[in-house]
């Protein structure tokens, strides 16, 4: 057989092996990334611009996303929130499985931008208008976290951030408790999550539910291991809630119960 024919034959045989093999590797990759991997679409390439598209197409998506994050930081320093949002959106599109971009993008919007539009607004802007804009930024933060949760359903981090958002930005403690619970169902959630479910339910006025939660914690076989130095606090909370329920009304709200793990503004 002539060498050209031999080359073609080798290529055809290899092609028969290679294609199913590549497909299998691709399928396994999709399973690992929970189908959240977004191919480099034409639309995204237009948004990214030439240099970043070049990096992202060359297999350096992480590098391109990090570069965008530097740009987010610059826009944050300049307080140009629309630019922060646009760049954070691009970063999460490039790296949907990196929680950092989702968490901090949402934090910029729901905390920094929403506070900034009230605090540094033009003098002639009405209070109603300021609150409207602030709420819009909080909603943008929620939207980013919801998209992040869809891309990373098995990780506790974004549920925790969402719980903090509802607690600190909207004072919706029922939703906060819901997200703390969802975080706790995921592996690796920090030990304080358990306690914050109880606190959130109490702040939401759901005293019976909160009491039931604390009592279930106290009755759990691994109570000591889970609560560590907070064992006494659990007992105190149970007593306090029993009193509230017996009194048929709320007691004074304790400010020290606010989550302390939220990012600093």
């Amino acid at each position: 057989m002539k060498p050209v024919g031999l080359v073609i034959l080798v290529l055809l045989i290899w092609g028969g092996v290679k294609l199913p093999w590549e497909r299998r590797i691709g399928d396994e990759r999709s399973d690992i990334v929970y189908g959240s991997e977004i191919p480099m679409s034409f639309e995204l390439r237009e948004t990214l611009g030439q240099e970043l598209s070049f990096a992202a197409l060359g297999g350096f998506r992480a590098l391109a996303a990090n570069y965008l994050w530097i740009k987010v930081t610059q826009a944050w320093e300049d307080q140009v929130w629309t630019r922060v949002r646009a760049r954070a959106d691009m970063a999460v599109t490039l790296q949907p499985r990196t929680l950092f971009f989702w968490e901090n993008g949402a934090w910029h919007m729901a905390w920094n931008a929403s506070v900034s539009v009230v605090k540094y607004a033009e003098e002639d802007k009405s209070e109603e208008r300021k609150q409207f804009e602030s709420r819009k930024w909080i909603d943008a933060g929620i939207d980013m976290l919801e998209r992040g949760i869809r891309a990373n359903p098995e990780k506790y981090g974004l549920y925790l951030r969402m719980a903090e958002l509802y607690w600190q930005r909207l004072e919706d403690y029922e939703m906060s408790a819901k997200y703390y619970r969802m975080a706790l169902e995921r592996p690796g959630a920090p030990t304080y999550t358990d306690r914050f479910i109880g606190y959130a339910l109490e702040k939401a006025g759901k005293y019976e539910e909160s009491l039931a939660h604390w009592e279930s914690l106290a009755a759990a076989p691994n109570f000591e291991e889970r609560m560590q130095s907070h064992q006494q606090k659990v007992g105190e909370n149970i007593e306090k809630l029993k009193q509230i329920i017996a009194n048929g009304g709320p007691l004074e709200v304790d400010d020290s119960q606010k989550p302390t793990n939220a990012p600093a503004s």
Partner: protein
Amino acid sequence: MDGFSGILLRITTIAKNTLIESLRQRVLLVLLLFGVGLTVASFYFTQFTFEDEFRFLKDIGSASISITGLLVAMIGAAQLIPAEIERRTIYTVLSKPVGRFEFLLGKYLGLFSLLTIMLVLMSMMFACVLLVKETVEVREVMVQASSGVPSEQQLEMINDIKAQSRDEGVFQALILIWMRLALVAGIAVTLSTMATSTVFIVFTTLVIYFIGHLQATAREVWLEQGTGGVFETSLLAVVSLLIPDFQSYSIIDEILAGNSVSWNYVFEIAGYSVCYAAIILAIGGLIFKEREL
């Protein structure tokens, strides 16, 4: 010397000489220094992030290794055969009882050894960067500890810092980067068997590299979304047959982002890369055998 040991000896001699020649080349050494510098400079970039600094360091460090490695692989491979022809040393070597395929394989293995040494050196520098960062971070936590004894929460923080800096995922990522370089070097060496211009080889390898990354997007747009006609589908079939799917290596980013990937999967991609490099070199050998020198 005849038989398998003779073939092995000839291949290793050529590989050794290729490695020594490559190490003498200033361009490649400058590239290596550039890569090491870029890895160390990743410290600077962490000031733009107040959280997740280890991920930032890992992304930039691995990208430095990849970019430097790709440049070394392409430039190094492009000079292998054209330079031998230009200097006419190829005639001296091939006039001895050295087969053309042995010559090609020896050249490839020499370049592969260079890439391996480079990767090991840069990885060591990368590990140093991570360890220095770990020391700095742990010291910062310890400073906050009253009477030098860390609290329960501070111990958790220290463990978290150590887990991030001593992440086994970094090894997985480095293995995959190594394999990607081996494949790119194989493609460039094969191209050097049919071309005479260094620029042509570097450019063509680069084009193949980008097409390899774009394949997945083209497949998604033309096949899965059904927007492709007969021409697009045929083109994609030819591309898929000839060019590796470099998107397979995008899992490196997932690993460095802290997502858990099994060693089986890493070894599967490594196996794919080795097989692909072997096939592409076999094709290169067939082409080189027929080439008139």
